[in-house]
């Protein structure tokens, strides 16, 4: 399994590097706000990079599946000592690694900023918890959407389909906020994306 995960990361290292850069920008913006106080420019940078992180996750999922189909990678992998389930799980785990790169530095920065610049209220720690869970699920949903849409030979389907699914995930977060209902809806969306991807991937001709 580790070999498969490492292969996924090496083959798609561009997205991991991109995610690291975006995280670095977010952390830099947080540091600026810690030192000089909360300002509009830094907040815009955080929101923009945060949004891009989710797009990167979606594109990563798409690249993993589309690249596989185009280069017939799974045809080779399926004849090694692994099953298609292993291949798919490795892809999801590679997505989780990217998600951690995308979320953890930003959330740590956010916690530090709240401690330094805001009064020590219990409300903030609960808010950070809720936001973390919803963002993590939204990230997984974006990656899952990418996996689902990427299993095709049609570039047009990818170009049209991925933004649509990412917009659906974004609107779920916007409409439902960061509460329990958002967690339930996103969990369902992840279930649908993973379930459908698993079905198409495991029953397809390689």
């Amino acid at each position: 399994m580790l070999t498969l995960i490492v292969r996924e990361i090496r083959d798609n290292h561009v997205y991991f590097v991109l995610s690291c850069i975006l995280s670095a920008v977010i952390v830099a913006a947080m540091i600026i706000m810690m030192v000089y106080g909360v300002n509009e420019e830094a907040m815009i940078a955080v929101y923009l990079c945060g949004g891009l992180q989710f797009t990167v996750l979606g594109v990563l999922g798409t690249a993993q599946m589309f690249g596989d189909r185009a280069n017939r990678i799974s045809t080779l992998l399926s004849t090694q000592a692994v099953t298609r389930n292993h291949i798919l799980i490795a892809r999801i785990l590679a997505g989780v690694v990217t998600l951690l790169i995308a979320l953890v530095p930003g959330l740590v920065g956010c916690v530090l900023l709240l401690r330094l610049r805001f009064p020590p209220l219990d409300f903030y720690s609960r808010m950070i918890g809720d936001v973390s869970i919803v963002l993590a699920l939204a990230g997984l949903a974006c990656h899952g959407a990418g996996l689902l849409i990427g299993w095709t030979n049609s570039r047009a389907r990818v170009i049209a389909g991925l933004p649509c699914l990412l917009l659906v995930v974004a609107s779920l977060v916007v409409i439902k906020g960061f509460g329990l209902s958002a967690v339930v809806v996103l969990a369902l969306a992840i279930g649908v994306f993973w379930g459908r991807t698993w079905h198409t991937f495991t029953s397809a001709s390689m």
Partner: protein, 304 residues
């Protein structure tokens, strides 16, 4: 250990409404080198792909090393070496990286044997797979398939695109591999001389049906080509069972008959031929006779 590493039961496969495999059943015993022959589009590759779980069947079941092909475990996959037609290697990888990947995914890896193969083939580790010639890709594919010390080796037209020297080299290596005990090989090829050289059992696929499934010696002894000369014109009512092909011109009739035996000779004698001579047949001759559109299935001995 499974006594029949390959079992196919009533396999049917349709592609876009076209029947590619039509009720195919086959069992390959352990240690057998099975040569699968068939013309282009006869269903050889489809059968192999279904066996390996790369393609779902329309109907029927296939088992590899005792496991259902559609639910093959990682363990079963790891005991099968596969050389695909067209060599499915990751083109964008360098050879070294591909080797490392396959080594990392294998259950066991025979470094010594793999090293020997790489030396024989002189494959460059620092070149990208897409920059290798077809022959080199075939050799790399074979080396990767053999390095895992497979229990079952499936070779789908592995010599396709190889020059004569590389083909000979490949076959010599295949024979070496075959000599290792307990290994079962399914070998599909267009090149009949290759199959004749290494196979001990032959299957011929024609339009998705297995029309021949017997040992090579049995096939050669059962199928006979006869040149029969009659005193006048060839009889219109000549009937023998198991005629695979026959053509008549004037006084001469050339018949290809399966399961030729004294009874059939006696029946033929009743038509009063002037002479009846057996014409020698190579595997290629038999293959051509069996795959002609009008040819009939070569039945089992018991059916005669």
């Amino acid at each position: 250990m499974n006594d029949k590493p390959i079992v196919i039961e009533d396999l049917v496969k349709f592609y876009d409404g076209r029947c590619v495999l039509d009720g195919l059943s086959l069992e390959v015993p352990r240690g057998c080198i099975y040569g699968l022959l068939g013309r282009n589009g006869s269903g050889k590759t489809t059968m192999i792909r279904i066996l390996l779980g790369l393609e779902p069947p329309t109907r029927g079941r296939t088992f590899v090393l005792g496991e259902d092909s559609m639910r093959l475990s990682a363990n079963a996959h790891g005991r099968v070496g596969y050389v695909a037609e067209g060599h499915h290697l990751i083109q964008s990888y360098k050879v070294r990286r591909l080797v490392d990947l396959c080594r990392g995914l294998s259950l066991q890896w025979n470094d010594e044997f793999f090293g020997q193969l790489m030396e024989i083939f002189r494959l460059p580790l620092d070149r990208k797979v897409k920059d290798l010639s077809t022959g080199m890709r075939a050799q790399l594919n074979l080396a990767l398939a053999m390095a895992i010390d497979p229990e079952l080796v499936i070779l789908d037209d592995p010599t396709l695109g190889l020059d004569t020297v590389a083909r000979r080299q490949f076959l010599e290596l295949a024979i070496d591999v075959i000599q290792r005990q307990g290994r079962t090989i399914l070998f599909s090829s267009h090149i009949l001389a290759d199959v004749e050289r290494i196979a001990d059992r032959i299957g011929v696929l024609v339009a998705g049906k297995l029309v021949v499934d017997c040992s090579l010696d049995e096939l050669k002894s059962r199928v006979k080509k006869l040149r029969v000369i009659f005193p006048e014109r060839t009889p219109q009512d000549l009937y023998l069972t198991d005629i695979i092909n026959g053509r008549a011109q004037g006084r001469e009739m050339v018949l290809t008959v399966a399961n030729w035996n004294p009874q059939k000779r006696a029946i033929l004698e009743t038509f009063g031929p002037e002479s009846c001579t057996e014409m020698p047949m190579t595997l290629e001759d038999i293959f051509i006779e069996c795959t002609r559109p009008a040819s009939a299935v070569v039945p089992q001995e018991s059916e005669v």
